[in-house]
Symmetry: C2
Subunit: 247 residues, 2 copies
């Protein structure tokens, strides 16, 4: 019998919102099993976040950490080029290591916050890897989402019975938000950032200020969760912030 | 200084979709730290599910497992009475144990599938505990959701860029589904069950059959994930099933 051909693999590990305790057992094992740990960052302070979470399970004696800087491009062509070059870095590093191995196989873990398929940049990278490194086996470990962690911190139900939930980046207009709140019992606004004052004004109008929770950097040392969102009218929210409104 | 008064505590542990590897480190520690493990079941086969997942971390020498049967009542008054009696069982068991302890404190873990605040029955139980056992400290450990795990299994993106996601129990009419699919890039239908044939017919009409994934019992030995949902027209889906449609 001809032995089945084995391939190098990359596992995208959803580390959850930021608290190292919210990493799953499967995530821990994927990190521990990797030869190369890829730590992407979109800003200079972000690599340290994913890496800080994964650090306890990384053994520098036998594992190598490779930081990857993912530039933030609004232009799709530029973004594609950037991901192409990251895919090349991952693909070539794994191939080079596999070539040194008797079995010709190397294992990588790609660290990321939250869940790999819920927002974030992994989907774009995955398309580039599939196009240019088709023999690389890509696995995905799901992670706890930031909104589930924020809700757990304050005990806010996300849905009961037949409730409906909408999840979206903070909408452009007050009208959109009004329409959503008429249709859904729970609205989760991601990437709130500079839209916070306008959202607060709309919720105030709808008498929903008391039903909202604001959260930023969930599970991290700089975590901030605010129930009295009326106090945030002049607050400059960071990009990585969310708001859960329960009707 | 008078020592701060300590209270007994109950931690609701979201065990994730069913794969024991998808339990978080925090969940494992909450199970290990508990004196009493409460294993609710809504049907006879469900206690074994939550318990089967948690079992590797339970030590029968020093921990007691208490099965709780949660009856499925459609009538709100009957449901409230049922949860009141479950709250009483949890409260009285923890109190009785705490009374035997020098420090007067006992710790419980309440096991549940998925995430404690996303659908499920924990929200009702928590309200009863808060009303009748106000000194009991209730903590919540978030869990990986079944839809994130299903998406990870097949590599289906849930959202990229500014995509919007709607999560809801399978809707009553084809029109509702059509409206949702016009507004949201991703629609996640929970508790699909008997509505599957009607949903398939609607997706067929909208030429979206190829963009959908059907999943049941995610992460469990009986897991079934189907991408060719056209093949499921005559399938009797169980209640614990979901469908992800990506426009």
């Amino acid at each position: 019998m001809i032995p089945e051909r084995t391939h190098s693999q990359l596992v995208a590990v959803g580390l959850g919102p930021g608290d190292p305790e919210l990493v799953t057992m499967k995530g821990v094992r994927a990190i521990e099993a990797a030869d190369l740990i890829f730590a992407p960052r979109s800003r200079t302070d972000e690599a340290s976040r994913a890496l800080r979470i994964a650090q306890p399970w990384i053994n520098p004696q036998r594992q190598q950490v490779i930081p990857l800087t993912i530039p933030m491009h609004k232009d799709p062509a530029q973004a594609a080029a950037a991901y192409r070059s990251i895919a090349d870095e991952i693909g070539s590093r794994l191939s080079a290591l596999a070539a040194q191995r008797p079995q010709g196989v190397a294992r990588g873990a790609y660290l990321l916050l939250g869940d790999p398929l819920l927002y974030g940049t992994f989907t774009t990278l995955r398309a580039e890897l599939a196009a240019h490194y088709p023999s690389l086996v890509v696995g995905i470990v799901p992670g706890v989402t930031s909104f589930a962690a924020a809700a757990a911190q304050v005990g806010l139900p996300l849905s009961t019975g037949n409730d409906r939930i909408a999840i979206l980046p903070a909408p452009a207009t007050a009208n959109e938000l009004r329409t959503l709140l008429a249709q859904f019992e729970t609205v989760i606004l991601m990437k709130v950032g500079s839209k916070l004052p306008q959202i607060i004004a709309t919720l105030d109008e709808l008498h929903l200020l008391e039903n909202a929770v604001y959260a930023e950097h969930i599970g991290m040392p700089e975590e901030r969760i605010v129930r009295d969102i009326g106090s945030l009218r002049d607050y400059q929210a960071p990009y990585l912030s969310l708001l859960i409104v329960r009707r």
